[in-house]
Assembly symmetry: C2
Amino acid sequence: MRDLHQRLDLCSINTATLGHRLSIHDTLDAVARSGFGFVAPWRKEVEAANLRDVARQLRALGLRLSGYVRSTFFAGSSPEQFAAHIEDNQRALDQAAELGAPSLIVVGGGLPPGTRSLADARARYLEGVARLWEYARSVGVGITLEPLHPMYAAERSCVVTLDEALDICHAVDPGQTGGLGIAVDVYHCWWDRHLTSHIERAGRERRIDAFHVSDWLSPTRDMLLDRGMMGDGVIDLKGIRAQVEAAGYAGAVEVEIFSQSNWWQRDAQETLQVCADRLQTVC
Amino acid sequence: MRDLHQRLDLCSINTATLGHRLSIHDTLDAVARSGFGFVAPWRKEVEAANLRDVARQLRALGLRLSGYVRSTFFAGSSPEQFAAHIEDNQRALDQAAELGAPSLIVVGGGLPPGTRSLADARARYLEGVARLWEYARSVGVGITLEPLHPMYAAERSCVVTLDEALDICHAVDPGQTGGLGIAVDVYHCWWDRHLTSHIERAGRERRIDAFHVSDWLSPTRDMLLDRGMMGDGVIDLKGIRAQVEAAGYAGAVEVEIFSQSNWWQRDAQETLQVCADRLQTVC
């Protein structure tokens, strides 16, 4: 396992961690100033600015992207909206290419409103990924599927385990030709007793595109916006990172914390400093 | 699949559904008056009354138990507390015997405070079940393991899938000698893409002791106390019941709804009436 001490160049900040309060320009400056080598910006922040200006600033700061966040919930849309979502995600892939992002993070959506069939939603998810991947190859950007915690199955992602995401990768790209992989986010998968074998499989199939850290607070007060800072919760962070790196992952360790009532209330510089400290100690 | 129309005699009310506001005596009267054949009382309600009086009332009303709710979170206790928890659960088994309950519902607990190893917690859970089952056999009561949704892994149950609970049953009772099984609660397992195969396995191994219904609201506003009335959420209730009954389950269909801000605010009789209607239509 890599030693992250004084290696913030291996670490990334998902901009959601700062609560979407600063402009993308101020965020990128702050992330670079704090010593991080990577950043994972959200599309809505990038779109509030000029795309070329953002790309230019990234180059000037020497910041690399660990991913571009994120797709729309296409699986959860009505059949009529599905095509529009695919097109919109193609625009996100264009932006990702311009920004030099290795991949677009895909969170595919839950159940379409008024429906109850997870199997149908999963079939739609697969279809959407197949169409996006085709386009992604044409613009030279990857697709990274991020399965979410099962508590988000209804609204955000009908795909809830690493294994399920790997099956989709295999169905779409059986030859492992590249550009289609998964994100291992500890918050979403820490509870799974098959986590070790899922990570091993992902490594064998060369599918681990991203590794996200935060922590599971006990108790958790909000299903969406109460993630913890690394070390403040119950996830075995070092244990999971060791497995991911043993499986061959050598990319960035990305912090992604949604924390309405705590970290999003603090000064961005303070949050970045605590992220830096925790990455080097408890991750 | 059984037709539940005019068959409330096949249905049960878990007393948590009424919000623990009435005395157990008033609750049992109300449940019987509404036509239900079964009830699943909580231990704290029973202990607030006289055990023999409760047993006598159940007999007089002709109400059968679909389970006695529930064990302490023994796996989540400190090593020092573990023995005390086992003893306390043995008292619950004594009570279950006196009440004529087929089994004690076991919700085994999450991570002991300050720990991060789910594997250790699961080993403790297995050890606790083995010890309780031994005692349970001596008093003629079963043990029903209830895996909970993964969002409860930290605090309530480190065992989060049916398959995992079945593995524990197999480890403790490989010969399927009886008295050790699982509860299929739709709220906890609806998201699992392996649900069908887990239910089939549970049927083959003759382990389905209980079947619980409620619904997953979208959105869900509280992780613990915002379950929905059947039909108000996204779970494919008829689909899951069909699978459970095809696997051989012929016991009660039990309603278990924790709903602080909705059903627990309503009159108990109204809640029971809506449960009765929904059981006969959308379940």
